[in-house]
């Protein structure tokens, strides 16, 4: 096709638009502050330095990484448990409020978190869990349940009914069927939902911003926020923080590209 060669310049332009900010971020992280201010911004470092990374890794960054890991793991586990149970009820059981409740859960897809921010903040202080990682888990789970329930319900509706009927004949109850039949067959759906939530929560900002305050409780996005407040003038240092914080997702993306893509798209395809 003749048009293919004509497409190349456009492809290259977008490559620059998407890639240049990354290029600036990575190379600036290896510059000294003096060099950043004296040499051209877009030039590669004349002298590559690891000082920025040393400073960051010696600070609270690693602790924030650990906090994020803990909060995201617990939340995703809870989301998968609650959402798969609810999805099983919605997809496989007939009860009077099935449709109504499902519609209500779907409405949760569009609710802005801001409408809950003040009451959740007040509740958190009243429970005495303000500025702890526990404060984040409740809202994290609740706000990601609608999308997770939606995806898993769609998924479980596709599972052939014969398997379930056979199990019922053998005298299996709902719990047995859920555990031994539905869950194992839902594995791809669970993986998609797990990745989708892990990425979303790994980057979550508002709740962590409102419900925590001390550096020891900060998750990764908040660590970035604190760094830029503290070192506003030290661009190389901030760039090294950004590079480090981008690494985990880039790593996962490289390892499991298709899964991550489908996981991140999951919310959109049917929503």
């Amino acid at each position: 096709m003749k048009s293919r060669a004509a497409l190349l310049p456009i492809a290259a332009i977008w490559l620059l638009i998407a890639g240049l900010p990354y290029y600036f971020m990575v190379q600036s992280g290896f510059k000294s502050q003096f060099e950043l201010l004296t040499a051209p911004f877009w030039a590669l470092p004349k002298k590559w330095t690891l000082d920025n990374y040393r400073t960051v890794l010696a600070g609270s960054f690693v602790h924030s990484l650990f906090n994020s890991l803990v909060v995201v793991s617990i939340s995703v586990l809870l989301i998968l448990t609650c959402a798969s149970m609810a999805a099983y009820a919605f997809a496989r059981m007939s009860f009077r409020l099935n449709r109504t409740l499902f519609t209500v859960v779907l409405a949760g897809l569009v609710i802005p978190v801001h409408v809950t921010l003040i009451p959740v903040y007040l509740l958190t202080t009243r429970l005495g869990i303000y500025d702890t990682l526990w404060a984040l888990i409740g809202p994290y789970v609740a706000f990601n349940l609608p999308i997770s329930i939606f995806i898993l319900t769609e998924f479980m509706r596709e599972i052939p009914r014969e398997l379930e009927e056979a199990a019922t004949m053998d005298g299996a109850g709902p719990l047995d069927i859920f555990w031994h039949v539905i869950l194992p067959l839902s594995r791809p759906g669970l993986a998609t939902v797990g990745i989708y939530n892990a990425v979303a929560l790994w980057n979550e900002f508002v709740f962590a911003y409102v419900l925590t305050s001390s550096p020891a409780r900060r998750t990764l996005p908040l660590a970035i926020w604190d760094y830029q407040g503290q070192y506003a003038a030290n661009i190389p240092l901030i760039m090294s923080v950004l590079s480090l914080s981008a690494l985990p997702l880039i790593f996962i993306y490289v390892v499991a590209q298709e899964r991550v893509t489908s996981g991140m798209m999951a919310g959109a395809i049917k929503g």
């Binding site: 492809a11 911004f41 801001h114 921010l117 900002f205």
Partner: protein, 300 residues
């Protein structure tokens, strides 16, 4: 076993309730109750600290209706909705078609195109704040190098430019998302259609307008809905880059609500803004759903 009228198994037991319970508890405590509580708080004056709150009746709501900053914030939200859709959809569509036609040759391009999606919004905000900086940023030197000195501006500090500068970043962040979404849909169009079209002598452009685009209608509507709802709820990026400034040039409903509640400690008025925002988003979502259903009914 007696065949049940419904294709679902009828459970008279409490099993459904038990399976739904954990999810419903989370939703009740952290979504439903807070919404009710916000609505309630919007009728009070309270700093969030003292034990007593004073009933204010409609006062906060009257203040809101006369609050120029709130209307400005809503207008900014709408501007973001319009520009997000107007810029992101065509560009994302163009790139998706590009990647689709380019096939394997552009595989590496696709990886780089995807990069912006792998950064958190906060990180993107911090990165672009640094790039836009008038003194230490990298965009102005680039403009000067390219012979465009009049494009060296105080991108985030100039109240006429700030909203535009922020929209550029929003597009940078979300175009890859819609691109992948469109690409997935393009790849699901049967190859036979393409072969048939080229046998009939259709050009690449004709094929796109006559065959591909009509097939994309559904996903395009989905993408626009996501963009609409997302833009009305926008917060993180703007908060990181400008905190709604300079002088409310990039103020959004969410940033204004945050400031009133957590900086000025006007929990009552903050709740009023939050409730208004909630209502606006819900009305927008219901309108879109209704239009979609109406169009589906029209289509038969």
């Amino acid at each position: 076993m007696v065949a049940s009228p419904s294709h679902l198994r009828r459970s008279h037991s409490i099993a459904p309730l038990l399976f739904l319970l954990p999810a419903l508890v989370f939703l009740a405590v952290f979504v439903v109750w807070p919404i009710v509580s916000s609505i309630q708080l919007s009728f009070y004056n309270w700093n969030g600290i003292t034990a007593t709150r004073s009933f204010a009746g409609m006062e906060n709501w009257k203040t809101l209706l006369a609050d120029e900053i709130f209307w400005r914030a809503l207008r900014n939200n709408i501007v973001i909705v319009i520009f997000s859709i107007a810029i992101q959809m065509p560009v994302a569509m163009g790139l998706a078609v590009l990647l689709h036609r380019g096939g394997r040759a552009l595989k590496l391009f696709k990886v780089v195109y995807y990069f912006p999606m792998l950064m958190s919004t906060v990180a993107i905000g911090v990165l672009f704040k640094a790039l836009y900086d008038q003194q230490f940023g990298a965009i102005n030197p680039l403009m000067i190098r390219m012979g465009l000195p009049s494009f060296a501006q105080d991108w985030l500090g100039d109240s006429r430019l700030a909203l535009f500068s922020v929209i550029v970043v929003i597009c940078w962040q979300f175009i890859p998302f819609y691109m992948i979404l469109f690409l997935a849909r393009l790849m699901s169009i049967p190859v036979e259609l393409r072969e048939a079209a080229s046998m009939d002598g259709a050009s690449g452009g004709q094929y796109f307008w006559r065959v591909e685009l009509p097939q994309m209608r559904g996903i395009l509507a989905t993408a626009m809905t996501l963009s609409l709802i997302g833009s009305l709820k926008y917060f993180d990026l703007i908060w990181v880059m400008t905190e709604g400034g300079p002088s409310h040039a990039t103020e959004l409903m969410a940033t204004y609500m945050y400031k009133q509640a957590f900086s000025s400690f006007r929990m009552g008025y903050g709740s009023t803004i939050a409730t208004a925002m909630f209502a606006i988003v819900m009305v927008a979502a219901m309108t879109v759903t209704a239009v979609a259903q109406w169009r589906r009914a029209e289509a038969g």
